[in-house]
Subunit: 452 residues, 2 copies
């Protein structure tokens, strides 16, 4: 078989980079658990009709078909399965399916792969990992969770700063502000305006103004008012007066401004400087009804949002009850691919192994295995040399694998251990020796960048 | 939308059971890392031609198709994608793809979902998690890894005994023993004999004898010899004489008996009683060339093997180099579904949360949030009450969610914390209070079974 080649959009990592990714995942999980989110994992597949309820995404779904069913008629469309493209739709289905067994407000985190048949580009993949937190209520959900959730994500992402992850800034808007403003302006097709304004960063204000006139039925003055609002952003509640100065009145706008000001002010107390009101944030998905969030990695704005979400009121409903929620989703693969791709963060070694036990002769393998077992029992990751080659070759093997210590059982029953980086070799007691704490496991550390 | 129903073969867990599964996954990962296996994750999809190289499995593959490509002609078959059905085939491809960047012998663990379009039944799923370890050499791989790998898996599974997992026993055979024996008997179609003997547990000796005669061209005496060998099992090397007593001679048989005896004897030193030679073990897959393994959970033999694998010499080859390996795979979903389904193992609570901070009034939320932040900084998972309802209701909320402690900030600035299980309420210093260690996080513990 010829050497296989990577599949575009389906990223894979070498072990050293996978160690970075695992550190990111462990850190996120740890933060989510400290905030009382319970772990949930859903199956990777959903009925197609479930996936298509959300709109906009239908072209990107991967359908599944068993090979042995090839050539048969397609079955009942309700029974066709597709891979999930996010974790929100499966979670809404999980809540409905298990509502009788869950306590509300239900707080869960979920860290899984999702799939989208999109054209791959930098930071955009066909298979990638998301890390989501949501709080869902039964019938109602207090507003304060819209303040709580961005703080959870800011803390989770800030916990990664010590390994070299750049700081983040969450950009927040409120769907009620946008909808109230457009309605107050007299624009009937609010959804069309939202979709158009969402393109601002991609196509620029002139094209958006044109599209607002051509596709959303806006007059020149209405289009200008939309753009004027989209230009407003602030790290505090000063945005409220600037919106008011545009002269638009609507009850939904009033309600949205109060909520958005509360989000900005309350988060400023807990995580100062990490969140701004940004009135151009639209979020494409049509199920958001309150606060919406996007997040940039400072200095890496070109990557797009690494953590997005919002408040939704009607995503999950079984006809009798509705389950409003608020959630945010970190694009883990997007974040990690930048961290390792730009060499911002690295693992101190590509293997868990701390000690390689050297072998004088193959007959000593059983004794070396026992020694290794003893070290492992004390938490020291250990391998026995794969062969009883000359010591020089065994040391080079450890060096190539990135293993810092080689252990030499001596003929007289004593032991020595060599730090192969410094060459230091010392007597060691297998029942007591410990490596320095920083060598015990691979560490994930910032890369000190040299000038390009 | 009507209440959704589970999809057969795609299991999902409630949070308490997911906590058990995470404990299993964390424990396996910890053991694998202590033995020096590096983490690898591969994409979920492989080109279909890659998946079909292995035979026998073709009917079970899920093919992928983008919804927007529906109705188009099927493209180049080499570019069609399917979901992987195990982690061995993707790993072999990963090794070939990255051979220049890996150090051999390369040791990796891989814990991921796989998919098979099989008919679901007890312990058999369409989507499930596998946890694999493999060692792969470049060109050659010493035999001693065939001794090492079952010990790794026995230690990983035995590390789960403290939470209530029953002990395991690995059943081992060697493909050389079987192939040498059949060839020495004069049976030409060794693969057909292997496949037939593999059905012994399912259909019984009489049907196997019949099939050996009808489908593998065996005489009555040859079929009886095959069955006589398949009946041999032993916890030590005594099986060698019993095979010899059947009077069959073949160089491959000799080589296989030496290897199998070494596996049994060497593992008996490290993990006494956990491994037996069992000459009926065949393993369906045709790429095994040396030791093969299956593992039963004692008292749960009906579940089938929970950890299987073997030595393979030619799974990965780029024409120039071959990469022989040996690996074992734990069926995590099969194991966990039994542990939680039979209530052998349970989580002490279904949420990470240790403390609920009670609220006297909604105006106190900011202060309660600060208090919660302080507790989290000290590693105590904390939530703030979702509402300032009467304390009785807030305590009932904690109780329903399984949160053991409720924190009451007092009007005079002091604090009290109540253990809601005992009703004990005491003064507490938010900068110093710690719960007993067993309450800090949900514990995974054996369920003491009551008589049925």
């Amino acid at each position: 078989m010829a050497r296989p080649r990577p599949l575009s959009g389906f990223p894979e990592l070498l072990p050293a980079d996978r160690i970075v990714e695992l550190h990111v995942l462990d850190t996120l999980r740890r933060t989510f658990e400290l905030w009382g989110f319970a772990p949930v994992e859903t199956r990777a597949v959903e009925p197609l009709e479930q996936l298509l309820r959300k709109g906009e995404i239908d072209k990107e779904v991967y359908l599944l078909r068993r090979l042995q069913a090839e050539g048969e008629e397609e079955g009942d469309p309700a029974r066709r399965l597709g891979l999930h493209f996010d974790l929100t739709v499966p979670f809404a289905r999980y809540v409905l399916e298990n509502a009788g067994k869950l306590q509300f407000p239900f707080r869960r985190y979920q860290i899984q792969k999702v799939w989208r048949g999109e054209r791959p580009q930098d930071g955009r993949f066909r298979e990638f990992v998301q890390a989501d937190v949501d709080v869902v209520g039964a019938g109602e959900l207090p507003f304060h969770h819209e303040v709580e959730l961005p703080i959870v994500m800011i803390e989770a992402l800030t916990a990664l700063a010590e390994v070299g992850t750049p700081p983040v800034r969450v950009h927040v808007n409120n769907r009620k502000v946008a909808e109230g403003f457009y309605a107050g302006l007299g624009l009937a097709d609010v959804a069309a305006v939202l979709r158009t304004v969402d393109k601002l960063d991609k196509v620029g204000p002139d094209v958006v103004a044109e599209l607002l006139r051509d596709e959303a039925g806006a007059s020149r003055a209405q289009a200008e008012a939309c753009l004027a609002m989209a230009r407003i952003s602030a790290p505090d509640a000063s945005f409220v007066d600037r919106v008011r100065a545009l002269g638009v009145e609507h009850p939904l706008l009033d309600a949205g401004l109060v909520e958005l000001a509360r989000v900005v002010e309350a988060t400023a107390e807990h995580v100062p400087g990490a969140l701004v009101a940004d009135l151009k944030i639209a979020r494409g998905l049509d199920y958001y009804t309150g606060t919406v969030y996007e997040t940039v990695l400072l200095g890496h704005e070109d990557l797009g949002s690494i953590c997005s979400g919002g408040r939704y009121d009607a995503l999950a409903s079984d006809g009798k009850d509705t389950y409003p929620g608020v959630g945010l989703s970190i694009g883990v693969t997007r974040l990690v691919s930048r961290l390792v791709g730009r060499r911002l963060v690295a693992a101190s070694r590509p293997v868990p192994t701390c000690v390689l036990v050297a072998l004088t002769a193959e007959e000593d393998r059983a004794a070396a295995d026992c020694l290794a077992t003893g070290l492992r029992r004390r938490g020291i990751a250990t391998e026995v040399s794969p062969s009883a080659a000359k010591f020089g070759r065994q040391i080079r093997y450890a060096d190539r694998r990135g293993i810092p210590y080689v252990w030499f059982p001596q003929a007289d029953g004593t032991h020595q251990v060599k730090d192969i980086r410094s060459g230091d070799q010392k007597d060691a007691d297998p029942a007591a020796w410990l490596p320095p704490a920083e060598d015990l496991r691979p560490r994930v550390v910032p890369v000190v960048s040299s000038p390009a």
